[in-house]
């Protein structure tokens, strides 16, 4: 409620009453008619197009840049002449922030369009059932890479979720002293670790444990992903656990239930949907990681179902490899890469939507 009024306030524009408008049109400050912006925009683009025709250039990007610049300048000058300096600056600011939003949409649209266009070429049954074993140029698929991604991500989820969840429980239910402050700070720091450094860490660790020859395997990749995933899980679980009202805990203690049973039977079930959705979104964030897996899990052309022995291809590394080390002719390799990109985006989207669905559908209905 308060949020919506505040939103309203932010949207507030000093709206003139009828009387004010009557006067402002004639006496105090003239306002531009409502559709001036749209009209000027169309006009600017028309002039830009005309300019293109005269100079013999063409190209959509050029047209857009010239048209937008022309519009910004003309709109500012017209507003300044009619409304005065301050409203004109206000209008320019509005134009610029709107432009910022539209500019940000361009890469998103271009990326999705290209991925769909080039990714659908190889989006077929072979892609999901065949590996690259014995494939020289056309054909083949990414079944081995998809399998590897699923194994590595599953392993790192199995390791990260208990650690992350218990840490969150510690921070919310037990920790009050210096240790909990230190952990909160370090979790923040962990969020900022570059993914490639996480990869180097896992690799260094396993070089010391099993030696250089065996260090590159699926499990090493899973450990490196854990470093990236744990802070996400802690953050979201901590937030969800602290949302559980204290009255629930107190009611449980009053019935003589021990602290740990209260946590297991009362606190966690109440926060469960939020925790699960946080975990799903954490998975979505690490499943597309490339750099650490390039270092730790390696790259092979065949299926390797054993994460504890031998290199294991994952989908992001597969995409990277197809693009950076293509064979001849290059196109089949690029096609496989784009399809891999499409599959990755689809997986991440589905996981994100699933996370949102879980938190919306299964959250407890005790909002008040």
């Amino acid at each position: 409620m308060s949020n919506s009024t505040s939103q309203q306030l932010r949207q507030h524009e000093p709206a003139p009453t009828d009387l004010e408008r009557l006067f402002s049109d004639s006496l105090t400050a003239a306002r531009l008619p409502r559709f001036t912006s749209l009209g000027l925009l169309v006009l600017s683009f028309a002039v830009a197009a005309l300019f293109d025709v005269i100079t013999g250039h063409n190209g959509l990007a050029r047209l857009a840049v010239i048209g937008v610049l022309l519009y910004l300048i003309v709109h500012f000058i017209v507003a300044r002449a009619v409304e005065g300096g301050r409203p004109a600056t206000d209008g320019l600011a509005r134009d610029l922030v709107t432009l910022a939003f539209i500019v940000a949409l361009i890469p998103l649209i271009s990326l999705i369009f290209e991925t769909l266009k080039q990714g659908l070429v190889r989006f077929d049954a072979d892609y999901f059932t065949k590996s690259m074993w014995g494939v020289i140029n056309t054909g083949g698929g990414a079944a081995h890479a998809i399998q590897g991604t699923l194994i590595v991500t599953a392993l790192s989820t199995i390791i990260s979720v208990p650690i992350g969840l218990f840490t969150a429980i510690y921070l919310v239910e037990y920790g009050h002293g210096r240790l909990s402050r230190a952990i909160t700070l370090l979790v923040d720091v962990m969020t900022g670790i570059p993914s490639i450094v996480a990869g180097l860490f896992a690799y260094s660790l396993f070089v010391l444990i099993v030696g250089v020859a065996q260090a590159r395997m699926g499990f090493t990749g899973a450990v490196s992903l854990c470093v990236l995933m744990i802070p996400y899980v802690v953050r979201s679980a901590e937030e969800m656990l602290s949302l559980v009202p204290n009255s629930l805990r107190e009611a449980s203690y009053a019935l003589g239930v021990t602290k740990w049973l209260t946590i297991v039977r009362i606190v966690i079930p109440t926060a469960l949907s939020g925790i699960v959705s946080g975990v799903v979104i954490a998975i979505a964030r690490v499943i597309g990681e490339t750099a650490p897996l390039l270092i730790t899990a390696g790259f092979v052309n065949w299926k390797n179902p054993n994460p504890f022995s031998g290199e294991m291809t994952t989908l992001p590394v597969f995409v990277y490899n197809q693009v950076m080390v293509p064979g001849v002719p290059q196109q089949p390799f690029y096609d496989r890469a784009w399809t891999g990109a499409l599959v990755l985006i689809l997986i991440v989207m589905v996981l994100n939507l699933l996370g949102r669905f879980i938190s919306a559908r299964f959250s407890p209905k005790t909002k008040k």
């Binding site: 600056t89 271009s110 923040d188 570059p194 490639i196 010391l208 390696g298």
Partner: protein, 321 residues
């Protein structure tokens, strides 16, 4: 030590068998242990990197590519430059646009669409970095190649746009644009949150004094959210410093210091150099690359720390509470 748990535990002991209170201490041990484990993991990251980097730290004989040999510092120098240069340029591009988008969503866009528009920008954060790399390499570089030519032709006198124009578009400019797109959602989502926290009274007061919306933003929103914007930028900087795949795939990198952003030989970054060289590296070179990773770790650690510090300082002195 046990003061916060004393009460329920005591109640329990008097009412039921001792197995339950046993469960209590096990559970507390588990969760405290997990918390400590996080401290251990982070310490382990630092220690294992140092152990593996140690052989390279003292070695003075790495080939530098130009015939001469040198130690780790002369090896990592150009990459350090590339890392900082690309990240800072990406921020120069992304911060104004990111803040603009946040303003648009929080203060300008129709209320009904605000959260939907925020979700659209968040989509940019969901795209894996290898997909950005692929897009930057095979789509964006082609789109931007004419821009390189134009910049070289008309603005070539500025050192930023000097030198021989890249024919493929695989340049620092393209890499910086990709990086900027990748950090945009971080800046936008954080700034949007801060903008929505600006006290309504101050907004109201500004309007009551006859300010236009832009004047209100300059008088009220920006001063209030200054530290939030700085902190968001620092977080984005940390992300841009550590970004690996997009830069590794887009840039045709070399171990050089080059200020021009449109030539085909650009300064590589620490992270991208590791990704490109590590899979084939052996022996001491591998230690050397881990040592450069340690350098990157320290830099991002400092940047993130400053960002948290700015936020914490703001919480202390904020008048909002």
């Amino acid at each position: 030590m046990s003061s916060q748990t004393a009460q329920p535990a005591m109640t329990d002991e008097s009412l039921s068998p001792s197995s339950k209170s046993h469960g209590d201490s096990v559970f507390k041990g588990l969760s405290t242990g997990s918390g400590v484990l996080i401290v251990v993991i982070l310490a382990a990251v630092a220690i294992f990197l140092i152990v593996q980097a140690a052989p390279a730290l003292t070695h003075q004989d790495f080939p530098l590519g130009d015939g001469s040999n040198g130690g780790i510092l002369s090896y990592v120098g150009p990459y350090l430059f590339g890392t900082l240069y690309s990240a800072v340029l990406a921020l120069v591009l992304a911060v104004p646009i990111g803040v603009g988008i946040a303003l648009f969503i929080a203060l300008y866009a129709p209320r009904r669409f605000a959260s939907g528009l925020g979700y659209v920008i968040d989509l940019l954060a969901a795209v894996p970095s290898v997909v950005y790399g692929l897009w930057g390499l095979q789509t964006l570089s082609l789109i931007l190649q004419p821009v390189h030519r134009w910049l070289g032709d008309y603005l070539g006198f500025i050192p930023l746009f000097g030198g021989r124009v890249s024919g493929t578009g695989r340049s620092m400019l393209t890499a910086v644009v990709v990086l900027a797109v990748m950090v945009l959602p971080i800046i936008t989502s954080m700034c949007r949150e801060v903008f929505l926290q600006v006290p309504d009274r101050q907004i109201e007061a500004s309007y009551a004094l006859g300010a236009t919306r832009w004047e209100m933003i300059r008088q009220v929103v920006f001063p209030y959210s200054q530290s939030g914007i700085i902190s968001a930028s620092m977080l984005a900087l940390g992300r841009a410093l550590g970004e690996t795949m997009a830069v590794a795939m887009v840039l045709s990198a070399a171990r050089v210091v080059n200020f021009s952003i449109i030539t085909s030989t650009s300064s590589g970054t620490i992270a991208s150099n590791i990704a490109l060289s590590f899979p084939e590296a052996t022996g001491l070179t591998r230690n050397l690359l881990i040592a450069t990773g340690l350098v990157l770790f320290v830099i991002t650690f400092v940047v993130n720390f400053i960002s948290r510090w700015v936020v914490a300082r703001r919480a202390d002195f904020s008048g909002a509470n």
